[in-house]
């Protein structure tokens, strides 16, 4: 009985899902197809595969909003040039982490559990079913811009990525300086 209802909900959701969910679904499907693409499996195609995933992720992630929220109070004190430098490095770090994660994809199911929209902001809830049958709840936070919906944060098991980086970056800035943070970022993404 419960099974039937939940199946009905899962099957019915594509029809009733709103724009934010569709935006997430589009990119998720795209990335899964890149990862699974047999033509991209060989080691010499690694660079191209990474580039394709990177391009797909850029379509949905809002790097400025992410950077602003991560630096939070430190953002205001930075010059446009400093902000730009930070954004580029932070995006690299996120991409690196993200590519690392999605490459581990091995047939997990992605279940779209619902969305909430309030003005220009939206939440999309997704459950990832691992092969070991454990459910990993993921929550996307999106903001609407002229070009559509963009993700500015995601939480996995209640742990927000942006909050986590904010705490780390704040701690580094407080202990050294903004310059110190930039240096550490450069080191991390291998631009040094």
């Amino acid at each position: 009985m419960v099974l039937c209802i939940s199946l009905a909900v899962v099957c019915a959701s594509p029809a009733i899902a709103g724009e934010p969910t569709e935006a997430i679904r589009k990119i998720t499907d795209k990335i899964i197809s890149i990862v699974k693409d047999p033509a991209l499996q060989s080691p010499e195609k690694k660079g191209e595969k990474d580039r394709l995933i990177r391009a797909a992720a850029e379509e949905i992630f809002d790097r400025e909003e992410m950077s602003r929220r991560t630096l939070a109070r430190h953002w205001r004190k930075r010059t446009p040039a400093e902000r730009e430098e930070f954004m580029v490095l932070f995006e690299d770090l996120l991409q690196q982490t993200y590519i690392d994660r999605v490459k581990g994809y091995s047939g997990e199911k992605v279940l779209y559990e619902g969305e909430k929209v309030e003005g220009n902001y939206a939440l999309v809830k997704v459950d990832i079913m691992t092969k070991q049958e454990t459910k990993i709840p993921v929550l996307y936070r999106l903001k609407k811009k002229k070009a559509g919906w963009f993700v500015y944060d995601l939480s996995i098991e209640g742990v927000s990525l942006i909050n986590n980086y904010r705490t780390q970056f704040n701690s580094i800035i407080m202990q050294s300086s903004f310059k110190g943070l930039i240096e550490k970022l450069k080191e991390k993404v291998g631009k040094k």
Partner: protein, 367 residues
């Protein structure tokens, strides 16, 4: 009396005292914690939890966010009650409200508070009850699922402020960092190599099965904490899961209850129970071997220890280490790579783990 009899006798005493401590802790968190804190005092002493039902939902929502309310001279007792409640609600946080409502559900003997029960409830409890029931349902809806609860728009005050950001206090940071480095080495030099060998030797379905067995065995921890948090449905689900999985699931090896009946485990522990009753995490503690914790969750761990059947099934230090170690290695074998990628993504792994732990526990308590 022979020595073995004496030993049995002390064994029984040990168990009895164990249960005594659980009961004591249960009482402590049911009575002392809510009353010990001044802001919850009024709610639990002066008004029954059912009084919360009189409050219009809109007000309840607003008061959780908005700050000041105009002081109005109360005209009738009902209004006075509302006003007191408004002030109370401003101060109590939502977690405690959930508990109060769950208790209220039982006190009022309302029919099942599931969103579908509106019609049935109406006929039996009359007009007053009708109001209460619908408000109650709405409140339950508001608080039941964490996703429903989630704010779509994060206020700038939530993140972009000059005040020190929401995080766990960490006055022991220097020593915590030492233990963090120790645990890091323990993982990379000992735990991971063992788990890798084990992973190579045992096929994954068996490892998942062993994990299920251990978690099935730990049912009392989740069930007891469901009860303590007033999650009576969760308690029932845990008992049902245990019966189904211990039989149809072959001693818990297979999670038949989840696959066949969609009964997910209720991930509750005593640290969360304390959190639900308003206890903050205190300070961050990174224990050697056990890893990230807090004052609250350490007390929680100690409390759960006495409800854990393993504690009574396995005696002797060596056996305990073997069994717990086996469980740990088995679990790690299923999640090799998680810690590695967290570390790879972090600029300061220690701060990353500390914050992830804080956020993770907070989300669990709100659920």
């Amino acid at each position: 009396m022979t020595t073995s009899d004496e030993r049995k006798d002390t064994e029984v005493k040990r168990r009895v005292s164990g249960y005594g401590i659980i009961c004591f802790l249960a009482f402590l968190c049911l009575l002392v914690l809510p009353c010990g804190q001044s802001e919850a005092h009024g709610l639990f002493q002066n008004h029954s939890a059912s009084a919360l039902l009189m409050l219009p939902l809109e007000d309840a929502q607003m008061n959780l966010h908005l700050s000041e309310l105009p002081i109005v001279k109360p005209t009738d007792p009902d209004q006075e009650l509302k006003m007191i409640l408004r002030q109370e609600m401003k101060r109590i946080d939502r977690r405690r409200l959930v508990v109060a409502m769950r208790l209220g559900e039982k006190l009022h003997m309302l029919p099942d508070a599931a969103p579908t029960s509106g019609e049935g409830a109406v006929a039996s409890v009359g007009k007053r009850g009708q109001e209460s029931a619908s408000r109650f349902e709405a409140l339950i809806k508001l608080t039941a699922a964490s996703f429903e609860d989630e704010k779509v728009i994060e206020e700038p005050e939530d993140w972009d402020t000059d005040v020190p950001q929401v995080a766990i206090a960490d006055p022991l940071e220097p020593i915590n960092r030492v233990f963090f480095a120790f645990n890091d080495k323990l993982y990379f030099w000992v735990l991971r190599p063992i788990a890798k060998g084990y992973r190579y030797a045992i096929p994954e379905p068996f490892r998942v099965g062993f994990r299920n067995m251990f978690s099935n065995l730990a049912m009392p921890i989740r069930a007891v904490n469901c009860l303590l948090q007033g999650k009576f449905k969760g308690f029932g689900r845990e008992l049902l899961r245990f019966v189904v999985n211990s039989t149809a699931g072959f001693l818990g090896f297979g999670d038949a209850a989840r696959i066949g009946m969609h009964l997910d485990p209720q991930d509750e522990d005593f640290g969360q129970t304390l959190g639900v009753y308003g206890a903050g995490p205190g300070i961050y503690i990174n224990w050697p071997i056990f890893g990230p914790s807090s004052i609250r969750d350490t007390i929680g761990m100690a409390g759960d220890f006495f409800v854990d059947p393993l504690h009574y099934m396995v005696s002797g230090t060596r056996e305990t280490i073997a069994v717990r170690g086996g469980d740990k290695v088995n679990r790690v074998s299923l999640s090799i790579g998680d810690y590695e990628s967290l570390k790879k993504a972090a600029l300061d792994p220690y701060v990353a783990v500390r914050d992830a732990y804080f956020q993770y526990r907070r989300a669990k308590i709100e659920k």
